[in-house]
């Protein structure tokens, strides 16, 4: 069957089998592998994308059901060359380690801040309670979202670096702590 939807502002149309899940459509048909896929059972939340602005578990939505809707994935967070404050917050506050849960966490955070620009820590924890992070213990994720809340886009506070600077591996600045670790290892 033919499905059409908007993904990160672009209109896409593809011929797919009705049984294709939205997560596989996004990753395999559209090639947007920033959306991760984990438990398959609507429990882990790594597959979260925004559908009409609301977080949904894309392993439990058919691509056919998303047709006609507006989908936003992690690739659509940065805009106009700037990182979303949520992305910037995850950098500032070390909101990730392995990064497996991160795209889902950031999209839920974006949806939360759109609805409630000043959530407290409990509200942030509730919002991400359907998503599992096996690395951070959540504390740094909560701080990252709080950072984003304190630095909404366009306020000019702590200007976020241009998206291409960060996303294009060649220009990625190596954080100080990383050089320190490398140095220690070399010396040892």
């Amino acid at each position: 069957m033919k499905v059409s939807m908007t993904v990160n502002g672009n209109d896409v149309t593809n011929e797919i089998e009705p049984r294709v899940l939205l997560v596989h459509y996004i990753r395999e048909v559209l090639g947007l592998t920033g959306t991760h896929w984990g438990c398959d059972t609507s429990n882990c939340g790594t597959c979260v994308v925004l559908m009409d602005g609301q977080p949904v578990k894309s392993c439990t939505v058919l691509a056919a059901m998303a047709a006609g809707h507006d989908i936003r994935t992690v690739e659509g967070l940065a805009s106009g060359g700037s990182l979303d404050p949520v992305q910037q917050g995850f950098m500032e506050e070390h909101g990730l380690q392995c990064g497996f849960c991160t795209s889902g966490m950031m999209l839920t955070a974006r949806a939360l801040l759109d609805k409630n620009p000043h959530p407290d820590a409990t509200e942030i924890r509730q919002a991400i309670s359907g998503q599992i992070c096996r690395c951070t213990g959540y504390a740094t994720i909560v701080r990252s979202v709080q950072w984003a809340a304190a630095h909404p886009a366009g306020t000019g506070v702590d200007d976020a670096p241009a998206a291409d600077e960060v996303l294009d591996g060649t220009d990625t600045p190596v954080p100080d702590f990383a050089t320190e670790i490398v140095d220690t290892e070399v010396k040892a």
Binding site: P18, R19, V48, V56, L62, A64, S129
Partner: protein, 292 residues
């Protein structure tokens, strides 16, 4: 990778159209609402429909409406909408109590009240909520509309009175003055199905005695509401010894199964303790509506 077996997909554009599609595609067709019970079952091949009829475009079934002395909730109303509705929380606080512990916020963005009731999992929290609130189910089919009490709606685990060619369209809840309600659930971890849960609805008479009461249990092996508990409570002033007696009756009447969520004696203990708690809370809340 868990992927459903192949099927054909069609979107219904209205209730009439959905009914027409169910008839046209016959016994192997099934409607999909939020899909958060059906798709997991299809991935596991516990369900294998040949046709999926998507009813997510039926916005006409997504409503919360006060209509005289009835509150009407459309079958496509999502868990999130129910949780966030201040109007419902004011009339039936049990709904917010239950919704805040149904799955997680993201699942709640998709799952619907109609899907929950039609799924009829013994651990479905909204089934108990509808039972104790005395809801009626409005069902439409080729022969027209029929309205069933919850006792007639439920047929057992994963089974309801909704026929293959029918659609659950709305739930109707009677509004009663001096009434309130409460729900409490014990879960192993946030977002999980209940180990056990209890719900209660209480109506007070003008003199402060209990004029009507309903107690229901989730995942503890009790069908419908517990008539014995209601008998004990009716005509009496709310008091701790009544709640204790109702809890004892609930523990005796339920029939929980031993599974990975806990042994039978623990679940009976939950039936007892949770029944007391929800009755206490529902009575306190009902008394407040009387003051106001």
């Amino acid at each position: 990778m868990q992927i459903p077996a192949p099927f054909d997909y069609v979107r219904a554009s209205s209730v009439d159209n959905a009914l027409e599609l169910l008839q046209r595609h016959g016994t192997e067709s099934r409607v999909i609402a939020g899909g958060h019970s059906l798709l997991p079952m299809m991935k596991l091949r516990l369900a294998r429909p040949e046709w999926l009829i998507d009813i997510n475009d039926l916005y006409e079934l997504d409503f919360i409406l006060r209509d005289g002395d009835t509150l009407r909730i459309g079958a496509m109303t999502r868990h999130t909408t129910l949780l966030e509705s201040d109007e419902i929380a004011g009339i039936f606080p049990i709904v917010r109590d239950a919704e805040s512990v149904i799955a997680d916020p993201i699942v709640r963005n998709r799952g619907t009240i109609g899907g929950s009731l039609c799924q009829a999992d013994p651990a479905e929290d909204l089934s108990t909520v509808c039972d104790v609130l005395g809801a009626e189910a409005v069902i439409r089919g080729p022969a027209g509309e029929r309205i069933l009490t919850m006792a007639d709606f439920h047929r057992g685990p994963y089974e309801t009175a909704v026929g293959q060619d029918e659609l659950l369209c709305e739930l109707r809840f009677p509004l009663r003055p001096r009434s309130s309600s409460a729900y409490e659930k014990v879960e192993r971890r946030v977002g999980d199905w209940a180990v056990g849960a209890a719900g209660a609805a209480i109506t007070l008479a003008a003199d402060g005695t209990i004029s009507d009461a309903a107690v229901g249990l989730t995942a503890l092996g009790l069908d419908g509401t517990l008539a014995e508990a209601a008998d004990v409570l009716r005509g009496r002033h709310p008091a701790e010894e009544l709640f204790v007696e109702a809890g004892r009756l609930a523990a005796a009447a339920c029939d929980p199964v031993d599974d990975q969520r806990g042994p039978v004696d623990y679940k009976r203990h939950l039936a007892d303790e949770l029944t007391r708690r929800v009755l206490r809370l529902a009575c306190t809340r009902a008394a407040k509506t009387q003051e106001g």
